[in-house]
Symmetry: C2
Subunit: 414 residues, 2 copies
Amino acid sequence: MSTDLQASEVPESETLRLIEWLASFGETEDGGTTRLLYSDSWLEAQHAVFDMFQNKGLTPFFDDAGNLYGRVEGTEQTSPAVVTGSHIDTVVNGGKYDGAYGIVASFLAVTRLIEAYGPPKKTIDVVSLCEEEGSRFPITFWGSGHITGQYAGKDPKDYIDKEGVSLETAMHEAGFGKKQYPAPHRTDIECFVEMHIEQGHVLEQNGCSVGVVEGIVGQRRYHIHVTGESNHAGTTPMTFRKDAMAAASEMIHWIHREAFKDDYLVATVGQIEARPNTTNVIAGHVVFSLDIRHHEQDVLDTFCSSVLTHLEETAQHYGVSMQASKWLDVSPVSMDSGLTRRALEQCSMHSIPAHPMFSGAGHDAQVFGNLFPTSLLFVPSHNGISHSPQEFTCREDLEKGVRMMTEFLYTIAW
Amino acid sequence: MSTDLQASEVPESETLRLIEWLASFGETEDGGTTRLLYSDSWLEAQHAVFDMFQNKGLTPFFDDAGNLYGRVEGTEQTSPAVVTGSHIDTVVNGGKYDGAYGIVASFLAVTRLIEAYGPPKKTIDVVSLCEEEGSRFPITFWGSGHITGQYAGKDPKDYIDKEGVSLETAMHEAGFGKKQYPAPHRTDIECFVEMHIEQGHVLEQNGCSVGVVEGIVGQRRYHIHVTGESNHAGTTPMTFRKDAMAAASEMIHWIHREAFKDDYLVATVGQIEARPNTTNVIAGHVVFSLDIRHHEQDVLDTFCSSVLTHLEETAQHYGVSMQASKWLDVSPVSMDSGLTRRALEQCSMHSIPAHPMFSGAGHDAQVFGNLFPTSLLFVPSHNGISHSPQEFTCREDLEKGVRMMTEFLYTIAW
């Protein structure tokens, strides 16, 4: 099973041209992109994609959350739809590729396949999901969460942005949430396929153009509060101290060292604050963040449990108290093993250097993956940079990603 | 050698009454005291002490820096003066005892001795030093530094407070620095004796009422900059990281553990900042403070050198860079061993439980101690608290301190 579309035949600049075009909606002064959910730039971008779908013969339609579909009816009309795409929103001053590339890749793959082979057997919906990042409102996966029914019962009045605008108001002002469009929740999905930039540098380090994701990590996030006693840095002998910083440093050092014991485990203390935070006063209080990720629930459970036990013991040893507050707990999600295998076969067949891997970042694919067979594919991020105007993927890899998506969708839907 | 003044004979409330009275100049809402150098409350306090000296027969006079003396001429007029006292200034919202108690103790001891025995053989100057804390201008020991000639050549125009007022302007507005008073620099000092609150809890822990200080620690302060690479906390495997926080935590843990190897060494990391300081981003930069103190120059030199070597090695191990910037370097100062011995003998003779010790905090005594035989005595600080409205020394210890000072000055000057 293979298309006859060779890399040399596709117009080389088309992918990049569409990425640059999409980046013009919400372009920032230093070449980044800001498209927050339901903002003017977001709305312009969704409507521009609507027109693009229409111009290429896809039937565009919104759902009531603001997700945008471009549909191609399949010749086997009874089959559920193959849904493919990514998210249109960005972080503040983010890059051009995060989310946008996935929409472009799915759109180009589908239009090229239609051009070459006519309509697919199965209905295909190219999707521009309304929100994934959580950059405007304190909630993520607003698009995929609506499609999968995860947000049934959530009240958009409860989420407020920095300007004091509620999610409901923003939604209404953009024209959504008023039942003028079909309800977003769907059960008629055969599979979901997403292409995304890696946001790490595993592919670059391994010299691969495509990553085939086997699973998306589970995450736990904590704030660890260590409370000792503030005291004079000169007049308090070491043995009389209850030094929260000394205890915290041993904790952080231990966590970091321990995380090396599993190749796929990552543990990060990115945030720290001390009180009173003065050079000549022993810290009475230190709070630090802890972010732990792994693709296997068992490993995550065991590691987090051993960390908490060790932190408690360390606190006792230093005569301080420790309180761990967990504020995020997301389970790992496996991608569909059949689709993963098929994606790797396609890469091999077309000599696209590919790497089976796990995603350390969250993606819409994990929301779909809980309910439908799902596949997530990566292209490299130069130096692993993302969420920045410096985000970059070279043209060759962008094209290889589109070609891979084309071959893959052909095997799934044609 | 002993006075006939027994504890029972002195009016018990006099010490406390004077401390409360002094605390009324610059009293804060929550019972603390703020008397910043050359401020209105500072000026009122110095003039009130001037009157107090005069009322009790001491001859009061200012020097041109604002130090205030209360002189009692000795009967042996050729001898240089015994100078005794402490500082009148406080930190912002500090306690009632820090500095003030030393002035009160010296004043009461001298007036009681005069009352009982008439004028001393040696001239005594009770001194209310103008500044020690460095709370208004970025310079400490402004009073003792002028008396010892340490500030000769320093230009008060170069020091600016938070309101943008220069030290020169503040000085002039308070009436000093205009050569209307005698120049502060003195060489006619036989010895300096200071009584101060401990600001630690070594005395309380040891059940002692008086501490006899053998030496004041040397201090080194650094800012340690650790620079790695910010990266995604989910997509960057542990082995690819240049995690500044991981490196810093090992450094801080090592420093803290190493400081236990010497009973008198103290090492403190009180301040820390991470960048970008975000839960899901690996810290690219961490800067932390390091405060190291010991009373022996050799130990201080060796420890600081081994710390810097170890930090450099740790940075290399983590693939990050380390830069240590030293911004304070004060040498240890020994108190006069003859005076120390005599003070301990007096305590023993009068059954005042005393403890030979080192001062981990800086005091005016260290400035005098570089040039003149100097003795520093402590009374306990409850729970080691100072620089706070909660600063407290019990009445019994305040009285024992005054009694100790009385016996001590009797042996020195009568």
